[in-house]
Subunit: 224 residues, 2 copies
């Protein structure tokens, strides 16, 4: 089995990459420069790829999201702090991002003769991100199957196994995934800020999994 | 009503753009630099946009299709001559191209607050292009609806009205679409070659519609 994995450099795709490599799947990693406010995630993706000894492609599509006023791409929009359930987290939505990324990955998989497009979305992903929900993933599988000659399949193992982020951390810990090399924070400073939505979620996942969190947080360090 | 139209610069999208403008739809045109062997189509898209006085965005995503060995993007692959039904025309397939383009257009539509993504695919489009078939368009509508907050709709009026390319030429002629400014040929020389798949189809469409063809063809000129 082989395929392209969307490797953001975050925790979920880091663990999925490790898990696939462990299962003997030939993995090609794919990351995007899409106008992020920092490149820490892509640098993390590169570290993870090196640790796992997998090919890593980085594709520049910054021009695609220039009309998007998301805190992830627009330096004029402040990264909101707090929990994902807060309304303010809508500021972190980049419209149709997973659709765009998965479409490009599908095209590349077909061109490179690979079987699968692997996505690390999971059952704990949030209602504010429509393109992380299971019904979106089902629709994506269908459209990709019809878009080419039916050779490329979309696979979202964490959704298929009903895993949430704490389950992913437990899996990562069990298989020795290089989770310390992953990057989640929406801010791009030396350490994770500890207070943006994705940092809060990262902390919770390690806490709920009962696994020691290897991440250095600004806020966390300040507390102790 | 308003929306983004995928404007390749070919005949079909030229006529759809004109038809929408005629109906009072606010149209924003979108073209891609995706590593085409020439830029004649995008230049044509620009001429058409100027003639219709519509906004025209050109997005550079050349890095997306670098692994694709299509005659449309790889100068090492000769453009096949003949009819679309020939097996050799598979060389002109760029995997998942419409999926990638429509995904990006959907993201832009959502970011720009536009309602529709207009596609000029038609019922005469060919079996060799999976992402022009009606069942692909249905799947695309569904995935785009689930990908964002349900505000953006995919519209393919030529499919919905069962129109083929000759019908499109007749419509274009009736409404005065700037069809002479459009470009179809896969080769990028001064005139249309007249013998590649898309030139053969263009000629047939005018012929079947009983409309005088404004196009200057190399092969045609040589015959007379």
């Amino acid at each position: 089995m082989n395929g392209i994995l969307l490797l953001s450099g975050g925790l979920d795709s880091c663990v999925l990459a490790s898990s696939l490599v462990n299962q003997g799947v030939e993995v090609v990693a794919l990351s995007f420069l899409y106008g992020q406010r920092h490149t820490k995630e892509v640098e993390a993706a590169d570290k993870i790829s090196k640790a796992l000894k997998i090919q890593h492609h980085i594709i520049d599509i910054w021009s695609v999201f220039t009309h998007t006023h998301s805190a992830l791409t627009d330096l004029g929009v402040k990264v909101p702090e707090g929990h994902y359930e807060d309304a303010s987290m809508r500021l972190t939505v980049v419209p149709c991002r997973n659709l765009v990324f998965a479409s490009i990955a599908s095209s590349m998989a077909e061109a490179m003769g690979l079987e699968c497009v692997f996505l690390a979305v999971h059952s704990g992903d949030h209602a504010i991100y429509p393109d992380c929900r299971p019904d979106f993933i089902e629709a994506l599988k269908h459209v990709v199957a019809l878009s080419g000659y039916g050779k490329v399949k979309v696979c979202a193992p964490f959704i298929e196994h009903g895993m949430n982020k704490a389950d992913i951390v437990m899996l990562g810990s069990r298989i020795g995934a290089p989770m310390g090399a992953s990057w989640s924070c929406y801010n791009g400073r030396a350490k994770h800020c500890g207070v943006c939505g994705t940092c809060v979620e990262r902390k919770e996942a390690f806490c709920n999994a009962g696994i020691e969190d290897p991440t250095k947080y600004e806020a966390h360090d300040a507390e102790h």
